[in-house]
């Protein structure tokens, strides 16, 4: 466990070092202002980039373990739970990410109302809620409530998609 942890820290340190180097390169590319001034737009990013680079070196050699107790418990929970393939905690996180991405992608195609209804109902079902009628009523009222609140009261245009209200 401890050994793996050190590698983890070093991995993150390398990624951060690369990121800060790239950041610095871009900082040196920031055009200077036409009127010379004591401090231009590029100074602050340069300082930040250097500090991050130094910090990533520190992190590379940081061998202390700071893991939340919660996380420790988590790994235990994970080992205990031998659920089906689509309901393991890790899978749930992944599916949720994909579902959010789909929501955003379909937002302007299907329209706010339908996509929000589908998302709320679908995710609640996926997380294991089995009272479908209650689920449907809640999902529909939440979607409708926000749709009417935003369009009628706040005057915000929401994509109508395929259900024009």
């Amino acid at each position: 466990m401890a050994k793996k942890w050190i590698q983890e820290n070093q991995m993150i340190a390398i990624i951060l070092a690369l990121f800060s180097s790239g950041y610095l390169v871009l900082a040196f590319d920031i055009p200077s202002f036409s009127v010379p001034r004591p401090v231009d737009s590029d100074l602050f990013p340069k300082i930040l980039g250097f500090i991050l680079l130094i910090l990533s070196i520190f992190l590379f050699f940081d061998r202390k373990e700071y893991k939340d107790q919660e996380e420790e418990e988590e790994t235990q929970v994970q080992q205990k739970e031998g659920k089906q393939r689509f309901a393991t905690p890790r899978m749930q996180v992944f599916v949720t990410l994909v579902a959010i991405a789909l929501y955003i992608f379909l937002f302007e195609i299907l329209g706010f109302l339908l996509v929000t209804l589908l998302f709320t109902f679908g995710m609640t079902f996926y997380y294991g809620y089995r009272r479908h009628v209650v689920n449907f009523i809640v999902s529909l009222s939440v979607s409708l409530f926000f749709y009417l609140l935003l369009t009628r009261f706040m005057g915000i245009y929401l994509p109508e998609g395929i259900i024009p209200i």
């Binding site: 602050f44 990013p45 992190l59 202390k64 929000t116 998302f119 709320t120 609640t124 997380y127 939440v142």
Partner: protein
């Protein structure tokens, strides 16, 4: 006398029917959401920003402040009944609260928590009232040099006081500042880190980062933990007898004062306050061995301290415009969205907000006491909400909140990216609060640095020749080097002990 006049004016603002309604809604919503384990006050407040958008600033802050201390108040309920703290500030509450509930006295535990919270909250509002105008008077004379140093101090404190790795905290802080400077540089019009994407010109909306890093990342963590809530204890009688009241009065008083000052310090909030309160009581108690087994004092102390700290954290926010914690950073962000810049001038420019919020806290605390005593058995039913539905609704609310503010799906993608970043940070032990704080302060920090150097004609010594700024920078440096000193000191002691042993 002037303070009295001001506070009367504050009550005038806070007692407007609409504002009373907002206090009630705020503390009620806070109590309810604070109970639900897994959602911290930062996430809740981030979710509130779209709600307060377009509200009158005084009313908006009254509402959000109510949600904040309401959440700290309500967080104790699930600590006691489920041993699952609703908010981080209520972790210490569960040490003695849950054992007491298991012993068949959950009602007694809840009542103790409610009284202690009420007194802690009220004492902190009195402190806020007395201390805030004084600090404002001092801070009015602050120039850009002092402000820059103050922000450095605030950020380093938040990092050094967090229980996670200091290096990781600093990394989170620097990245937060990096995010804050994306967009058009307001002083020169130069574009920075926009990569030719027009949506990035205006900079990255703070709300997106807050909802992604906190609310969504917390949903992912809840999924990963995959644990369901435990059995809830049935609530018994909520009465305390005279002897018990006598027993909890001194710890409540002590912890309230301690908690308030902990809250005032930048970087130490309700969580640290509650732990300090608990350990102080345990240290001076004659019945140490009963702590952790349902000792009333061990329950009253952290509850008084965490509520006092949440009130105390408003001192730096309202007087300096410097948030001392992730939670107050969100409040500051909300105020900025409403077009108000908190700081020493707020007392003069917007006395209605300043005094109205303070007065509303008195009213809010009274509401909380009423809510948390007779109504608690009914409110605790909230804990029966199916977690599945709760999580979907939180996600949807985040998405709608961001879209409602920016009207672009580009920002929704950004939200998703920050949610992934927040989730990764949690997995690898990077604290998220410093990042959000840095994001809020980054802009102002750069601006003050440049103004200070503009005035000094590019001479960096200005930060070291100004007495106030050099003091703050020195304290900041010390707080970062503290682990080095502590380990050196330990080694010295070990060596000395060895030598003595020879």
């Amino acid at each position: 006398m002037e303070t009295l006049e001001s506070i009367l004016y504050g009550f005038e603002v806070a007692l407007e029917p609409l504002n009373i309604l907002f206090v009630m809604i705020g503390v009620f919503a806070g109590t309810v959401i604070g109970m639900i384990p897994g959602l911290g006050p930062i996430s809740i407040l981030a979710l509130m920003i779209p709600v307060t958008f377009g509200m009158d600033p005084a009313a908006g802050l009254i509402l959000m402040a109510g949600v904040y201390y309401g959440a700290i108040f309500g967080g104790s309920t699930s600590s006691i009944l489920l041993n699952a703290p609703g908010v981080a500030g209520a972790v210490a509450t569960s040490f003695d609260g849950y054992p007491l509930a298991k012993k068949g006295q959950p009602g007694k535990a809840l009542a103790t928590a409610a009284y202690a919270s009420f007194i802690g909250g009220t004492i902190s509002v009195i402190g806020l009232m007395l201390l805030a105008p004084m600090l404002s008077a001092v801070a009015v004379s602050f120039g850009p040099t002092e402000y820059f140093a103050l922000m450095v101090l605030g950020l380093t404190f938040v990092v050094s006081l967090s229980d996670k790795s200091m290096v990781k905290g600093l990394i989170a802080t620097v990245i937060g500042i990096m995010i804050s400077i994306v967009g058009i540089d307001l002083q020169t019009g130069t574009l920075r880190y926009t990569f030719g994407i027009p949506q990035l010109m205006e900079g990255i909306e703070f709300l997106i980062v807050a909802l992604g890093l906190f609310a969504l990342a917390e949903v992912f963590m809840m999924l990963l933990r995959g644990s369901s809530l435990g059995k809830r204890q049935k609530i018994s009688s909520l009465k305390l007898n005279k002897r018990e009241i006598k027993q909890i009065a001194p710890p409540v008083g002590r912890s309230s004062i301690l908690g308030f000052f902990t809250g005032v310090l930048p970087g130490a909030g309700a969580t640290i306050g509650s732990f300090l309160g608990y350990s102080m009581e345990k240290r001076i108690a004659k019945d140490k061995h009963t702590f952790g087994k349902g000792n009333l004092k061990g329950l009253a102390a952290p509850e008084a301290a965490n509520n006092a700290a949440s009130g105390g954290s408003f001192v730096p926010l309202l007087t300096l415009g410097i948030p001392g914690s992730g939670t107050t950073a969100i409040l500051l962000g909300a105020l900025l969205v409403m077009g108000i810049t908190p700081g020493p001038l707020m007392l003069e420019d917007h006395p209605d907000i300043f005094w109205g919020v303070i007065a509303s806290m008195y009213i809010g605390n009274i509401f909380l006491l009423i809510l948390n005593l007779p109504l608690i058995p009914y409110i605790a039913k909230i804990l029966d909400i199916p977690k599945a539905m709760l999580m979907s609704l939180i996600i949807v609310f985040c998405l709608i909140g961001v879209y409602g503010l920016s009207l672009s799906t580009f920002d929704l993608w950004l939200l998703l990216i920050f949610a992934v970043v927040g989730f990764a940070m949690r997995l690898y032990g990077f604290p998220a609060a410093p990042m959000i704080l840095a994001l809020i302060l980054g802009d102002i920090m750069e601006e003050s640095m440049r103004q200070a150097l503009q005035i000094s004609n590019g001479d960096w010594m200005v930060f070291l020749t100004n007495p106030i700024s050099v003091t703050m920078l020195a304290i900041a440096a010390l707080s970062l080097l503290s682990p080095v000193f502590i380990s050196a000191f330990k080694k010295m002691r070990q060596r000395r002990n060895k030598n003595l042993g020879m």
